[in-house]
Amino acid sequence: MVGFLIRRILSVIPTMFIVVTVVFLLLHLIPGDPAAAMLGIQASAEQIAELRAQLGLDEPIYVQYVKYIIRVLHGDLGDSIFLKRSVVLAFMERVEPTILLITLGLVLAVLIGIPSGILSAVRPDSILDKSSMLFALLGVSIPTFWLGLNLIQAFSIQLDWLPASGYAPLSEGVLKSLRSLTLPAISLAFNQAALFARICRSSMLEVMQQDYIRTARSKGVSEKWVILKHALRNALLPTVTAVGTAFAALIGGTAIIEMVFNIPGAERLIISSILRRDYAVIQGSVLIIAMAYVFINLIIDIIYGIIDPRVTYE
């Protein structure tokens, strides 16, 4: 176990190096100039050249790269040229809504998706099963931004129940914060719930055909007990993995929701920084997200081994 952990942690180093290099090269090779983006449409070429020199963007690309790598090795991800603060601070200021949004979205998705999957599997081909799978089909087919805009139209503009945009931080009260995240979380959850329902249904159907389920039934165990005690526990394994993977994937995948609902989260920071060519923020944020992704996958691997004793760390 310890050896496994050390190997996994060491393997992060080359992964991070590749991430840093690819992101740096991609950013500097695509056309566009942060100085021009920052100064606006009316800026003269002289002003742009002046700002480029101030920002060190007039240096050769390899010099900029070496300087950046040295800074990263010293734990300095640089400063945002636009936000005028360190990348780490800028990112940390925006982590709260993103993490809360993902958590709330996944909780909703689990609460909707797993029971739907179980009910479908228990009554295959019933109206319940067909409705549940229709919902799942809609969930994976409807674009998140489209759903978000329609939720705003219905619940914010027509019914005036929930805010259309913005985020209330936890410091302003948990309920207010949750209220501001309700519609974005539903938009996020719809797609994930559909995915979980489909996975849960298929694994439940598979487990329900197993010999030990037939044995339990022949021994006179009640159907409720068969489903909850014998079938569900085993069928949940792939679903749990899917939830963990979804959490890791969503760390880099809430950008559209944050844009549609105007949530000042970490993903919106990256999108805005790409448009502004704020190199330090893009590089730093991608690095942090890549690290989080690797870390969460490591935790999933460990948990998987704990849940299923057949998994070894060799």
Binding site: P34, A36, M38, L39, Q42, E93, I152, P264, S272
Partner: protein
């Protein structure tokens, strides 16, 4: 005349009064008495890069910053120059010395009184950094304090445009405390302290910029005038909230989460007008669409006036403008290089505008030395109106024999490429609002590819040196006429933008640049 009893009269007026308080009643007819209080939430299309008005040209800065900072002069109802922090001004008979007395008792938000030391420090910094500041400071010999409440500008040559540069909202010449200017050194201002009706509180990027009422604000007496006159901070605080997504900006104002939103695409106008939930406002004047021609390259556009004239002759402006802005309410075909709403407007040279004459274009092209060389037309999809208009211009130009190579980049790339006149011939962009014709960007010289014709330069110099308006206007007419003969750029047409306003917003003046002083919130 029909008779009406006193009782009926009272009944109907009471009913009308009650109706007028209903939320659905048009706000323009509600005519509430101004009242203080509340939080006004204004959507910005993005975070501004700074709140130092001297620093960058983007209008996003002014949208928020001119609530806390003020200039010496500003623009009135007809975009004329009016005093703001200045008491007035006197010009010497030779037109070279401007003496500007300052208003007394004007306090900065840090409690210090504004004096000539603050004004000199601020204006000298602006003159050394801002694009417009540098332009006018090229003729300023000295800008100095005469006494505690008077400053003096000595010019190398007379200038009729000097004050309009000090009044220009773009890269506004705001007055900051001297210490703030000194602390900034050569960089941008870090402490946002001004004399405006609102004072800066906090800036949380992507979340909001917060300003609150400055209780010790020294308001001018008399009525509000354009961007100046009497300013009153009715609302307790303003939150400027960046909302980059247009659909979200509209939905947030519709739902009442936000009160004002700017830069809304015209295609939403008809729906918003029909539904009546919020008020869509057309902002005019705003900008005009122009195809900038390269005058310093080695292609046919640069070398041969007849090629430029041929291009100007073939352009049919209406389809170009409709492709770019889609709604007729938001475009205007007009030859003026200054807007129709301004005293400077003239139609001199109009016979060469919007000619839509392919025959003439073919003839001119035949007489020119054009041999089918590709004309490199740059545009950007960062602003779809630039791209859409370029597509129509390409199509129109090709029908008379031009060979157009359409090059699509993001805006940042267009900006970096346009600095090199050897790699392009035309690019699409907009010309913003300018109070004085000497500030019109297309007349400027010095940056890659700009129109630096000798006759234009001479007329522009005459225009700069002259101080009498009538004489200046006559020079401006000649200059615009010459522009259409030599074809400095191809002007396509004026375009307007849309902003949206929630029903509880009262007293908002819909001028080119939005401002929220004198605005109050309905019950």
């Amino acid at each position: 005349m029909s008779n009406i009893s006193r009782r009926k009269f009272l009944k109907y007026t009471a009913m009308a009064g009650a109706c007028a308080t209903l939320p659905g009643f048009p706000s323009i007819l509600r005519a509430e008495t101004p009242k203080s209080g509340g939080t006004l939430r204004v959507a910005l299309p993005d975070n501004p890069p700074t709140l130092d008005t001297h620093w960058v040209t983007t209008y996003l800065v002014i949208d928020a910053a001119w609530h806390y900072a003020e200039p010496l002069f500003t623009l009135g109802e007809k975009f004329e120059v009016i005093p703001m922090l200045a008491e007035g001004y006197k010009v010497s008979p030779d037109g070279k010395v401007y003496t500007i007395p300052l208003r007394r008792g004007v306090l900065f938000h840090n409690g210090k009184e504004m004096t000539s030391d603050d004004v000199v420090a601020s204006i000298v910094k602006w003159g050394g950094h801002a694009q417009t500041g540098k332009q006018i400071f090229s003729i300023v010999d000295a800008f100095e304090a005469k006494d505690k409440y008077t400053v003096k500008a000595r010019l190398k040559v007379p200038s009729g445009a000097f004050l309009s540069f000090l009044a220009l909202p773009r890269q506004m010449a705001s007055i900051y405390p001297k210490e703030v200017v000194e602390n900034a050194g050569k960089g941008e201002i870090k402490e946002y302290i001004g004399t405006g009706p609102f004072k800066f509180v906090e800036w949380k990027p992507d979340r909001h910029i917060k300003m609150v009422r400055f209780d010790k604000y020294s308001a001018l007496p008399g009525p509000a005038k354009g961007y100046g006159g009497k300013k009153v901070a009715y609302v307790d605080e303003i939150l400027f909230i960046p909302v980059p997504d247009v659909a979200t900006r509209i939905a947030s104002v519709e739902s009442g989460d936000l009160d004002l939103g700017d830069w809304i695409p015209p295609d939403a106008y008809d729906r918003l007008k029909r539904e009546g939930r919020i008020e869509p406002l057309i902002v005019k004047p705003k900008e005009y669409l122009k195809a900038v021609l390269n005058h310093a390259g080695d292609g046919p556009i640069s070398k041969d006036r007849k090629v430029r004239q041929a291009l100007q002759a073939v352009i049919d402006c209406e389809p170009v403008m409709l492709a770019a802005f889609s709604n007729k309410n938001f475009i205007r075909l007009d030859p003026g290089l200054m807007f129709k709403e301004q005293a400077w407007w003239t139609d001199a040279g109009a016979e060469n505008y919007n000619q839509k004459n392919p025959e003439k274009a073919r003839k001119l092209l035949k007489e020119s030395g054009y041999k089918g060389e590709p004309i490199r037309l740059m545009c950007s999809q960062s602003f779809m109106w630039m791209y859409n208009s370029a597509l129509v211009i390409k199509q129109q130009a090709e029908q008379v024999g031009f060979k157009v190579d359409l090059q699509v980049y993001d805006w940042a790339t267009v900006v970096s490429r346009r600095a090199n006149p050897k790699i392009w011939d035309i690019y699409m962009t907009g010309e913003g609002f300018n109070p004085d014709p000497t500030q019109v960007e297309l007349l400027g010289c010095g940056v890659g590819g700009k129109w630096c014709d000798a006759k234009k330069n001479k007329l522009l110099e005459e225009l700069s040196l002259e101080t009498d308006f009538q004489k200046r206007y006559s020079i401006w007419e000649n200059l615009q006429r010459w522009h259409y003969e030599d074809v400095g750029v191809v002007k396509c047409g004026d375009f307007f933008s849309m902003r949206i306003m929630g029903k509880r917003v009262q007293g908002f003046k819909n001028l080119v640049q939005p401002f929220e002083w004198n605005v109050w919130l309905a019950s």
